[in-house]
Structures are given as structure tokens and as C-alpha cells.
Symmetry: C2
Subunit: 257 residues, 2 copies
């Protein structure tokens, strides 16, 4: 790592969200910061990329002097691709995504624009960290998030044994620095959304639906992100983009063809 | 498995695509078929879900008698959630996604609406299979895809040892049944997009960009999906939604806090 790392900051709540401003403040302590973030909220976008439409981008002066920033019409994953290919024009040393307004633990990692941006970075061979605070409020208190983001970024930058496609999913419980007990490294819990749709009629009498649901943790393990968060620890789960279910491969190879 | 399995068919190319018609034909041989598919092309949508907007759905008579079908304004993952929660109102025995017009091998699995719909099914505890043909043409020849989809669906329905969250990513090379050599089960290759953006000016002189790129296989393994496809085999990769990078956990637990 060179002495002044180049850090790309992205998010999914949009470039004007409080969470990304907090993360930029942390990033500035460690190196040169470039921001490429969506021009509107892109929550729940998963790993969507814009392949059937165009991308626009606009330079923005939001984060003060020394921070080059662009709003981008694309998804969070698009922002990473666009930032590297069109703005920075080389690989940054680190990608920080977030701080997301809301939970990205357990299977939420798959729906999360924040974490998909981080995984996109990892796929491009760049160490990437996604941060999420368990508070959906626009004016959420990011003090503890900033405190722990600083600890985690310092550890990542000082660790020369990390694989180059290292990606970390960090979730911070809602609470003060004093209330949070530390960081626990663990695995993604077997916890899922139980979905339902709220059925409404529009003013013309036509049906429409809102996706909603409740989140259930079916996992009794004490080594999970859900357990850490429920016990007021910051949860950190290393994540990977290899989805192969290796444990079933041998069984499948016995199928008749 | 009961004698007449209930099969939910989804896709990401939209309900009028040729690929989904081919898959419905295969599904009809095995059980009762319900289709819930996007009302427009949703390629590259990854695991996006509609949380900041509404969903609409419309019954459609596209697949002939006996096949209940709905077009849905949502993403492929939305279609699975909506189909189970609002249309079928119970868990189907099987979800089939596709046949996609285009490749979903290697890291494409993360961008793929087809595979995200299948993974969504697996997260809901339903055996799910995504099928993709390596041909982007709207009028692609799906004969070989149908042949192999039938073999794979039969194996899945006859296999009582599969985990209930089993998910399979099937890619079919472009070619005739005679040209394709069989099915190879393997892992997701370390193969990635090298992105770039084509910069254009709109009629008003404003900048816009198209995401494009080339796909590179950096993986020398002969046990990968890329190797299978390059050698004219159907590739089948079992996939999972647990993204935890277990191999780095122990190392991270040594970080100072």
C-alpha cells in the first residue's frame, strides 16, 4: 500500500445521503478520496447493472475541497464500474461503500446495493468494505459507524495478508459508541424475509401492490452476524463472489444423463 | 414429491420471450405450471427488488390452456416473491427460471436476473433451476436447451437427497443436440468483465455513456463452467446464497480492535 491510498467511496442511498458524508469523513483520514455515487436512492438494487439504458454523470461539489465527487444515474455496481473506468482510470487501493441507512446482514447482502458495489470492487481485484447502520432514518446518528469504520479501515490498510479480492460486510447496531461492545467476525446467518404484498387500489380503481414483510432469524448459531448485532456488537462478515455450492457437487456428478 | 408437482416458471427477458415459452413446454411435461414473469426485459437486474415503488400484475393468456400466467411490473426476484405470495399462495415444488437469452456462467451469476430469481426461490426453501442459452438472439434455437432442461428437471424431481434450498445454474452452449456432448457439473470460473464505457453526445450536446466490455476467463481449471462451455458441454453449477468467505474468518479474528 502506498503512503497516500486512493479510496473510491460509493453508496446506494444516493450522493446526498448523510451516511456517505460520514464515510467520506472517515476516508479522508486515510488517503485521497473520490466519490461516485447514485444521483437518487438505489436501495434494494442488488447487483443490477445498466445494460439496456444509458449512464449519465455530473461532477458535484458536496464534500468540500480535495474530494472529487460525481453523481451517476446508474446503480451502485454501475458507480463502481464507472468510477474506475471513467473517473479514476486506474484501480483504487480501496473501495468503501455506505454507510448504508439500514441493515445488510444475513441474506440482505444479496438484495443490497451497498454490498453489491463492494462485491463489484472485489470482482475487480480491489479490497472493498461495505458499511451499514441498523437505522433507516435519513438523520440517523453515524458517530458509532464512523468510529468503527475508522478501526476497520485502519486494520484493512495495515493487513498485508488479505487476498486482493477481499470484501467485508460490516453492520453496525443502532446505539452509541459506549453501548456497542466491539466487533465480532462471523458468518452470514440463515435469516430470511417472510414476504407479503400489501394490496391497494389506485384512484382509478386498478390494483397495485407494495412489497413488505418480516425478517426472521432461523439460525441458532452464536457465530452469525444476526447474533452479533442482537448482542450489540458490530458484525463483520467476509464475503465472496464465488457462489458454487461445493458440498453438493459430488452428489450431482452421479446423476444419469 | 407429489405425483403432479406445482412448477413456477419465471425469467428475466420478459413474459413474451421465446426462451420462457420453451421452458414452459418442458415444465408442462412434469406438472402443473404457473408463470409469473416480468412485463418487460429485466436483464442485468441482479437480485434487485422493488422496495421504493409499486408492483402491478396482469393475467395473460400466452401459454395456452392449463397454464395460469401473469405479467408483473417487478424484477425477476419480485416475480418469485409475488408469484408465491399472491398467485400460488403456497410454496411451489419447483421453480424454473429462463431459458435466458444469453450467458450466465462464471461471475455473470451475480448480475443475472435469471439466476437471482432462482436464488430467491432457494432462499424461500424451494428447489430452483436457472437455464441460460449462450445465444442472445430473440429467435435463438432452444431445441438443445429444451432437451437438456428435460433431463435436468427429471433428475431433480427424482432426487430425494437434494437439500431443500438446492439451486442450480445451467448454461447451454449454442449448438444442436448432436453437437453438445453432455452435462458437466463444476464450479463457477474466475472469469470477469473488463468494463469500459462508450462515451457519446446526445442531440443537445450532453454527455452520456453505454456500459460495455469484454469477458475474460482467468481460470485454468478444467472443472469450471467456462471450461465445460468452451468444450461444448452443458455446464451445471450448484449455487448457494451464503456468501461468507469462511477461509478468511480465522485471520480476521486476530485483528486488534
Amino acid at each position: 500500500m502506498n503512503s497516500e491510498p486512493l479510496i473510491l467511496v460509493v453508496n446506494d442511498d444516493g450522493i446526498t445521503a448523510k451516511g456517505i458524508r460520514s464515510l467520506v469523513e472517515v476516508a479522508k483520514k486515510f488517503g485521497q478520496v473520490v466519490v461516485v455515487a447514485p444521483d437518487k436512492a438505489q436501495s434494494g438494487m442488488g447487483h443490477a447493472v445498466t445494460i439496456n439504458g444509458i449512464i449519465r454523470a455530473q461532477e458535484q461539489n458536496i464534500f468540500g475541497e480535495g474530494v472529487q465527487a460525481y453523481s451517476c444515474s446508474g446503480t451502485p455496481a454501475d458507480c463502481v464500474k464507472f468510477g474506475i473506468s471513467q473517473i479514476i482510470k486506474k484501480k483504487p487501493d480501496l473501495i468503501l461503500s455506505g454507510v448504508n441507512h439500514g441493515n445488510n446482514s444475513a441474506t440482505n447482502v444479496l438484495y443490497s446495493g451497498t454490498m453489491s458495489a463492494a462485491l463489484e470492487g472485489a470482482m475487480e481485484g480491489i479490497t472493498s468494505i461495505g458499511f451499514s447502520l441498523l437505522d433507516y432514518a435519513a438523520d440517523a446518528d453515524f458517530s458509532a459507524s464512523m468510529h468503527y469504520a475508522e478501526i476497520i479501515v485502519r486494520n484493512v490498510l495495515n493487513d498485508d495478508k488479505l487476498p486482493e479480492n477481499f470484501c467485508l460486510n460490516v453492520n453496525i447496531p443502532k446505539g452509541s459508541i459506549e453501548e456497542i461492545k466491539g466487533i465480532r467476525f462471523g458468518r452470514q446467518a440463515e435469516a430470511f424475509w417472510d414476504d407479503w404484498f400489501e394490496h391497494r387500489k389506485d384512484p382509478g380503481g386498478k390494483d397495485y401492490y407494495w412489497l413488505t414483510g418480516t425478517f426472521h432469524n432461523h439460525d441458532k448459531g452464536e457465530d452469525t452476524d444476526e447474533y452479533a448485532l442482537a448482542n450489540m456488537y458490530v458484525s463483520a462478515v467476509p464475503v465472496q463472489y464465488d457462489l458454487t455450492a461445493y458440498h453438493t457437487l459430488k452428489h450431482l456428478q452421479q446423476w444419469p444423463q
